[in-house]
Amino acid sequence: MPDSANEPILDIRDLSIIYPISIGTVHAVQDVTLSLYKGEVLGIVGESGCGKSTLGLSILKLMKPPGRISSGSILYKGTDILGMDDRALLDMRGRNIAMIFQNPLTSLDPLMSVERHFIEAIQVHEPHTGVAECIERAKKILSDLGIEGNRLKEYPYQLSGGMRQRIMIGLALILHPDILLADEPTTALDVIVEAGFTELLIRLHELYSLTVVLISHNLGLVAQMADRIAVMYGGRLVELATVNQIFEKPLHPYTQGLMNCVPNILLEQKELNAMPGSPPDLVGEPKSCPFAPRCPKAMDICRSRVPPLKDYGGRQTACWLYEGGV
């Protein structure tokens, strides 16, 4: 949990990421300021195209060209990641901050055995580690994941979907990073496998004292795992609060809309309050609140000025409704 005395392990300040394309500039991420505290699970939610994956990738400086960071900084334990050269970046990725992606099959090499994946992951960072030691370490981590050691000889096609995703997380954790970035880690999994994977992730979070950034559009998953939630819309951070604050009293109308359109199996829902419209295309410099066209509470000011992210007693939101306080 965040603690004011606790130094953030990762500090994102005024980060903006742009993609120059033929018809203009896509402002994929705009002025995002966000701190990640040691040991917490931060959920990042929003619809597709809201910039949540781009934000996640930028933490490892992995945006695909022509995307580039136009301003801001990302401080990892005080060092600006954006200022690192390629060698320093390579050294940091995997060792300090690791990432797992949505589709485990495309993340594994079909021609390499599980064992080879682990050996490669270790030797990239520690070239003097012998094969035998690598295998020993891989076996140990597999037992934490509930996978038998003899699976090391197998190839990705021999593994089920849930098994592949567990191997992926094993590869991510083999060097004991501080931070794990998980970008829609369960989207490709079936519901029972997803539930099992979620439990595994919660266990690993404690076992490896990880700090986790969980990017997902699945509010159910985020509700179970996260300590704090960052809601993104139109490339901006529109709300940041603890998971209980978000679910009990969402402030931003977009967060409220998101909550209302998710079916809850425990409730008797006669109607879902769907949110009409779709997210903005992010081309060009915005002159208004990005959510204003879809917002049921939009006022004149919302259409003429971008609301800044403001602090309201430990939680933040960017909405003109709360100019006079919450």
Binding site: S48, V191, F247, L258, M259, C261, V262, S278
Partner: protein, 325 residues
């Protein structure tokens, strides 16, 4: 209510090439995608078909409208056995039985405008004159909320948002005024806000156009919102089928309970005590003997691996296939 669709003992095997040893022993391998499945759907009803990937739910949907042919069994539509129809006879019926697929983008030809795509079934079924067709297309576009219809009529798929594409696919399925629609995970690829809109739309259209749905989904929360009855499938078989409220309040089959347990709840105050089954759904080429679920089931007994448990009526209209029942 009258029965619109009756499925009796549906079986579908897909032959597969085995390995060298199998070919020597002349063993014929097959994926037992649908393994003796029976149910019926009343007129105006929404039957949900839920289960994990590989449970055979999509194959069952396709069998009902003969997109693929049955290995054995029969399907009745309004009391008529449509499996005996010739291809030509069945073509005439297709306008009444339509399907919507999971991914709207790959279901649309990138070279056809919205108007052409939605009007295409009319052309195939020779419905309306050349003059009348655009009006019929615009009419259905308005019904599914593709507004402004005149403007979107000339657009191409790449110019549409995800929600709009899904509406186009729905409009194309509904333009021939079918009475039965197979919806195969129509919202699985959509964003949360689009999902809610499409679910609402499907519910409204059902009332307005007097539709009957087979709604295929892996998400029980969605099924709860939309369906009247729900059938749970596992490895090609229905393991439980009953009215929606009964299923959620009194689930019987251990697999149904596991599925319900696994659904993530969007509320941090709810912490579920879960007892998840081990492993994943096995291959349908060599399914486990007896009850297909027994290797993962925590209540499994030796008897579970011998003989298929029949669907038993455990409460009025509530059927479950478990020897514990």
């Amino acid at each position: 209510m009258a029965t619109l669709i009756r499925a009796e003992h549906l079986v579908k095997n897909f032959p597969v090439k085995g390995n060298l040893v199998d070919s020597f022993t002349k063993k014929r391998l097959a994926v037992h995608a649908v393994d003796d499945v029976s149910f019926d759907i009343a007129e105006g009803e929404v039957l949900g078909l839920a289960g994990e990937s590989g449970s055979g739910k999509s194959t069952t949907g396709r069998l009902l409208i003969r997109l693929i042919e049955l290995t054995s069994g029969r399907v009745d539509y309004r009391g008529d056995d449509i499996t005996t129809y010739s291809t030509r006879e069945f073509e005439a019926l297709r306008e009444k039985m339509q399907i919507v697929f999971q991914d709207p983008v790959s279901s649309l030809s990138p070279r056809m405008s919205v108007g052409e795509a939605i009007g295409h079934p009319l052309l195939i079924h020779k419905m309306g004159s050349r003059r009348e067709r655009p009006g019929m297309v615009l009419d259905i576009m308005n019904k599914v909320g593709l507004a402004p219809a005149e403007y979107l009529y000339r657009k191409y798929p790449h110019q549409l948002s995800g929600g709009q594409s899904q509406r186009v696919v729905l409009a194309r399925a509904l333009v021939t005024r079918p009475d039965f629609l197979v919806a195969d995970e129509p919202i699985a690829m959509a964003d949360v806000s689009v999902r809610a809109l499409i679910m609402q739309l499907m519910r409204d259209l059902k009332e307005e156009m007097g539709l009957t749905y087979l709604f295929i989904t892996h998400d029980l929360a969605t099924a709860k919102y939309l369906c009247d009855r729900i059938a749970i499938m596992y490895l090609g078989r229905i393991v439980e089928i009953t009215a929606k409220d009964e299923l959620f309040s009194h689930p019987h089959h251990p697999y149904t309970k596991a599925l319900l347990d696994a659904v993530p709840v969007p509320d941090p105050r709810v912490s579920k005590e879960r007892d998840l089954p081990a492993g994943e759904i096995p291959s349908a080429i060599r399914p486990p003997s007896g009850c297909h679920f027994h290797p993962r089931c925590r209540f499994a007994m030796p008897a579970c691996s011998e003989g298929r448990p029949p669907l038993k009526e455990v409460a009025p209209g509530h059927f479950s296939a478990c020897i514990l029942d």
